[in-house]
Each structure stands twice: as C-alpha cells, then as structure tokens.
C-alpha cells in the first residue's frame, strides 16, 4: 500500500487543521480505544486508566507527537519512525492487530471533532496513512 501524492497532501491538510490540538486528539483516541476495546488495556497495567487520567493524557500527547513527526516526514515513514519501530519490536511488542484499533479510534476522534474535515477522500487517505504507520511500527517484529 503506497501513499499517493494526493494522500500525502490530504494527510498534511488534516494535521495542519488539527494543529495544536493534536495532543487532545491523541488523548481522546487513546481513551476511546481503552473503552471500546478493553483488551488494549492489557498493555497498560501500570497506568491509571480512569476517565481524565493524567497518564493517558500524557501518553496521548506522545502518540500525537509521533504522528505529527510521521506527517512531517511522510516521504520517509520508515526513517522517521525507526526508533519507535525498534521500541515496539524489542520492548513493547504490542500485537499488530492493535494498531488498527487505535487507527479506528483516531478516525472516530477526527469525525466527532471535525466532521467536515473527514470527506470520503480524506478518510481514505488518513486510513491509509494510519495503516502505513502501523506497518512501519511492526516491521521489525520478526
């Protein structure tokens, strides 16, 4: 799956529009993921996962920052996410299926907060981008 020029442009536009709220989007996506897919909580036994948790907010900020970094280096996702890819392969070992779940939640957050932004074409591009990020993060698993 390859990101076309139009895909890249759509994704950049989304993140430009989201701007400084990216952290909120990240936290919201994580919260939704823990509620919608409770099995994802198994990766965070050390977290307070209650509503409004500062740890979830902090982690959402990290996730959002990584996505922003990926968008800013969209022509070289593997390079931009290389360290995170190592981390997920060697230490975190989050099962690959979970990246789709977080991706779905991120799309839902964009849909709830900015529905007019999520046209069909943008939805397709953003979904592809999130898939590509997941693929890079699991690329070194074996």
């Amino acid at each position: 799956m390859v990101l076309s020029a139009a895909d890249k442009s759509n994704v950049k536009a989304v993140f430009a529009k989201i701007g400084g709220q990216a952290e909120e989007y990240g936290a919201d996506a994580l919260e939704r993921m823990f509620v919608t897919y409770p099995q994802t909580k198994t990766y965070f036994p050390h977290f307070d996962l209650g509503k409004g948790s500062a740890q979830v907010k902090g982690h959402g900020k990290k996730v959002a920052a990584a996505l922003v970094e990926a968008v800013n280096n969209i022509d070289d996702l593997a390079g931009a996410l290389s360290k995170l890819s190592d981390l997920h392969a060697q230490k975190l070992r989050v099962d690959p299926v979970n990246f789709k779940l977080l991706g779905q939640c991120f799309l839902v957050v964009v849909a709830t907060r900015n529905p007019s932004l999520l046209t069909a074409e943008v939805h397709a591009s953003l979904d592809k981008f999130l898939c590509a990020v997941g693929t890079v993060l699991t690329a070194k698993y074996r």
């Binding site: 919608t36 839902v108 849909a111 709830t112 529905p115 069909a120």
Partner: protein, 147 residues
C-alpha cells in the same frame, strides 16, 4: 447469546433515533467502496464507480446503502435474537453473493465513523463501545450460516 445491558440498549436506541437510515446508509456504503476500493468487486453491475464523486452520486449505491442500513434496523429490534434474524441473509451472503465476512467488519467500522461524524461529541466513548459491539455482533450473525 450476547448480553446487552440496559445502558447499552439505551445507547443503541438513542443513537438510532438520531440517524437518517437513508442518508447514513448511502454514506456508509459509499465510504466503504471509496476507503476500501477492493470492496467494489461485489458491485460490478452498479454502473459508474470510477471516482469518489461517481460513487457518492451513484443511485444504486444510495439505494443499496439504504437497504443495508434498514436491515440493521431489524437487528436493533431483535437484539436478543440476532442469529435467527440474520440466518437467511447469512445464507444469501454465503451461497449467492459469496461475500467474505471480513467485509461485514469493514462496513461496521465505516458505519461507526459515519455515526461519529453525524453525532459529534454526542458519540461518546460509551456510545462507540456499544456500537462497536453491535456491529461486531451483526457481522458475526451474518457470518454464522457460512459453510
């Protein structure tokens, strides 16, 4: 049999009450065909599916989307009896339509996003959980008669 709490049933019916079946059905099917273009394989006789604009405007897509979501409404009326409710449709999708059940999961995910875009913040995490559970259970029921 799937258990639905009173709160879950309430979340399902309250969201459903805000939904235009015709509009959301059309949008959901169109999005499926656009976001996951390989799903177009089941609709080769639907006419022009050559671009997102063509798909969104395609009257057969709109009509079929409405049909699909109307059927979803039946599920909501029969939450305690989904396998029986969908038995014939399941056979149809297996024996005649030859649809890989994975497509039901894809459409379910798309429907969630359509609902989210219509309801905004009212589509709370609890709503999302309940509806993600519902679309999963519907997908499972539709796959149940596969052989």
């Amino acid at each position: 049999m799937v258990h639905w709490s009173a709160e879950e049933k309430q979340l399902i019916t309250s969201v459903w009450g805000k939904v235009s079946v015709e509009q959301c059905g059309a949008e959901a099917l169109a999005r499926l065909l656009i976001v996951y273009p390989w799903t177009q394989r089941f609709f080769s006789d639907f006419g022009n599916l050559s671009s997102p604009t063509a798909i969104i405007g395609n009257p057969r897509v709109r009509a079929h989307g409405k049909k699909v979501l109307t059927s979803f409404g039946e599920a909501i009326k029969n939450l305690d009896n989904l396998k029986a409710t969908y038995a014939k449709l399941s056979e149809l999708h297996c024996d005649k339509l030859h649809v890989d059940p994975e497509n039901f999961r894809l459409l379910g995910d798309i429907l969630i996003i359509i609902l989210a875009s219509h309801l905004g913040r009212d589509f709370t995490p609890a709503c999302q959980f309940t509806w993600q559970k519902l679309v999963g259970v519907v997908a499972h029921a539709l796959a149940h008669e596969y052989h």
